[in-house]
């Protein structure tokens, strides 16, 4: 996969958040590429099975495309954090730097960065959520204790999104909780075991907490916690597929 395809997928990942459909003009603006070339590239991506594209209905990601897009976005945002937190590169420059570097970032290095930074959950500008790792670990603790090779872990089987990305009334199943054991345990004790069905009952404005209904009780989870709780991607959320 070429670097430019990856850039497209990343752009689509961002543009199709919140169930939106991306349009050629939006993509062209975002990547600073002429609409004609965008159209051509989208055709290619559609042929490869990464996007659903029709001229008048816009673009959405397929499951396969979403997975790739998320992976790239994760690498990009992790790199931003690394450049910012460790190498002290300014907020205005991390994005561009990360764009250049992400395509060469291996899973091994991605994992090492994630561990070094203690499973960060947000970009340095504190706006966007870093997607969950897709390396098939059941918890960050397991990842920490796992040896070097990643071959045996294999990729995660399901696509996941963070609770913070869901809308009111949406339902989803808990897949993975990122972070140290403490947070994980507290949430487990409150009933958020893997596979549990939760419903978003309310989302407070201004990056406030979300309230979920779980096992007949109601829990308020702050934004930080919500960003670290991942659920199996509900059918009608995110970029479709």
């Amino acid at each position: 996969m070429s670097a430019s395809t990856e850039e497209y997928l990343e752009a689509l990942y961002t543009l199709t958040q919140d169930n939106k459909t991306a349009t050629t003009s939006k993509i062209s603006k975002r990547l600073n590429i002429t609409p004609a070339s965008v159209t051509e590239m989208l055709r290619k991506l559609a042929d490869g099975g990464y996007v659903n594209y029709s001229r008048y209905q816009g673009v959405t990601l397929t499951a396969k495309g979403y997975e790739m897009a998320e992976k790239m976005t994760r690498k990009h945002r992790l790199l931003e954090r690394f450049l910012h937190d460790v190498l002290k590169i300014g907020n205005d420059r991390v994005h561009k730097e990360a764009c250049e570097m992400e395509h060469a970032l291996s899973d091994t290095t991605e994992r090492a960065i994630c561990q070094t930074l203690k499973s960060p959950y947000k970009c340095p500008d504190d706006k966007k959520v870093i997607p969950a790792c897709n390396l098939g670990f059941s918890s960050c603790e397991e990842c920490k204790q796992w040896g070097d090779g990643l071959e045996k872990v294999g990729p995660r089987k399901t696509n996941v999104v963070s609770l913070a990305a869901l809308k009111e009334k949406q339902e989803a199943k808990i897949a993975f909780i990122r972070g140290d054991n403490k947070a994980l345990r507290r949430l487990l004790d409150m009933g958020l075991t893997p596979g549990t069905k939760v419903t978003i009952s309310r989302v407070a404005p201004l990056k406030g907490p979300v309230e979920i209904a779980v096992r007949g009780s109601h829990l308020a989870l702050g934004e930080k916690i919500a960003c670290n709780v991942f659920v199996e991607k509900p059918i009608n959320a995110g970029g479709g597929g």
């Binding site: 059941s138 918890s139 603790e141 397991e142 054991n181 403490k182 947070a183 994980l184 345990r185 507290r186 949430l187 487990l188 004790d189 409150m190 009933g191 075991t193 893997p194 596979g195 549990t196 309310r202 407070a204 404005p205 201004l206 990056k207 406030g208 907490p209 309230e211 096992r215 007949g216 009780s217 109601h218 829990l219 308020a220 989870l221 702050g222 934004e223 930080k224 916690i225 919500a226 670290n228």
Partner: protein
Amino acid sequence: MKEGRHRHRRGHQNGRRLTIALAGNANVGKSVIFNQLTGSQQIIGNWPGKTVERAEGSLHIDGYDITIVDLPGIYSLSTYSMEELVTREYIAHEKPDVIINVVGAAVLERNLFFTLQLIEMEVPLVICLNQMDIAEDKGITIDSQKLQEILGRSVVTTVASTGKGIRELIEKAIGVVGRPVQRQPVAFRNDIEEDTKELSGMIEAEQLQLEYASRWVAIKLLEGDPTIKKLVGSKSTSVIRAAETLSNRLEELHQEPGFVAVASERYALANQIVHDVQTQKTVKLSLSDRLDRLATHKVFGYIVSLGVIGLLLIWTFTIGTLLSNLFSKAFSFFQPVDPKLSGTLLSALWNGVFGGFVAGVTLVVPYVVPFYIMLAIMEDSGILTRVAFMTDSAMHQIGLHGKAIIPLILGLGCNVPAICSTRIMGTRRERLLAAFAITFAPCAARTIIIMGLVAAFVGIWWALALYVIDILLLVVVVKIAVKAVPGELTGLIMEMHSFKRPSLSVVTRQTWARTKSLITLVFPIYMAGTAIVQGVYALGWFGPVNKALSFLTVGWLRLPVVAGVLLIFGAVRKELILLMAVAIFGSNIAGSLTPVQLIVLALVGTIYPCLATVGVLTKEFGWKAAWAIIGANTAIAIVVGGVAARALALIFH
């Protein structure tokens, strides 16, 4: 249960001693039951985490002499939080004769997760299915007979707030005593059960003499509980080795850490039980749900939250002033409220005692009691968790999360219980920061100073300005402290319980309990305080103290020289600043102090901490942290006071 208590008082000397502990999730009604049984006045309210320390009370019934223990609410017996650890140790080491597991019927599944853990511990257990009325309102019916069969433990249904079922509960609990401990477990349904059996078999065979039940130890080993691992490790390496093999296999098989696998299985079991015993009708949106929608609405939610805090302050303000004026008039006919600084020492002392009492009645009670009433209503309604929900993102701006607003609101009454309540925060760092913030919250005593000195003699707008300054100061100072204390903010995890109508009896009892402790604890201090001040004044000892402090009071703060003594007494109780000022200057304080001096005195008086706060800070955080907070407060009070004295001089000229 009151009759029981009185009826058996006579014979209780020879009664059999029993200890019964109340354990369960937060906010299920443990303290209501405790109060019913013992006639005590534990704090009750509709938000999780009120009881922070175990409380004991006694009940004499049917010839038994029973100590009832109220434990903090917890969700699990892991060692994630202090409360959980303390409860676990309490159950294991102090071995109460019976544990009453209070269960919220409306949230059965989550509560059963904890019940199953108690059953694993093989403790003598009675299950109290409380809040049956709330469950009913939600369309939930529970077959308690069937639940009893499945769990193999007695189940009693109750409505604690009305006392329904409490008598039966205590009888059942007594009935359990002396019977052999039920060991019948609720079996897991898969390989975890086999592993558990295998391990517990080993533990029993080796006769390890552990204080805990072998099944429970086996489960904890599979979960990888560090405390239990160490305990067992010190006695038998073969068990530990077997446990490690089994838990590795478990992780391999379930593709998740041992504790996740076990928790999942336990919840699956709870879910199954709920499925078997509970039926759920759909009910239409209740009033409580509608209110909930309003209180967490994108726009109105904020208005409601601000309204709650504003109402508390304004209510205290207006009702307080009204009552204060009324009481002063009523008392004015006693006359001797004016200070007496000449005459014999004895008459000065007596005058002080009486003056202190009158001042307490006319200045303190009118403000504090209305506040307590309103607070109790809000606490019991469930609005506080909504305020926490709505203010979470705003609280993040100062580096805390939404839950911290609850202790802060309590702090508008008195900082001491508010600082104890910071235990609802997740980490020590958060508790510390929340406590620091609370030391700036305009508590009732501060309100009294602001009202008595500024609103009365300078103007209501200046009084309001002081509030605003106080809150701005809180924000700025906490923001700085957040930077200074290393560590990261954990997120908000809070259970939201449904709204309910506050119960009159809870509100009155709670108000009375708080007022009583105010009167018994604080009135003597007032009376002694004013008496001592007048006595010291009469003896002419004021001079040296004031002189020693004059560089600060006169030089820097530009206050009259007597302010030194005022501030010293203010450290004992904040209100004393006002009461002493009245004692020294007479009721028309403005005759002796300029408006600027009044404002500066009020400002300094509100910022520096009182002794009770110092005490509770030391108890909760150790002297180092406590003195850091106190030092910071005092320094800020002095700096702000001095600056204000100079800035205000420009305005008032």
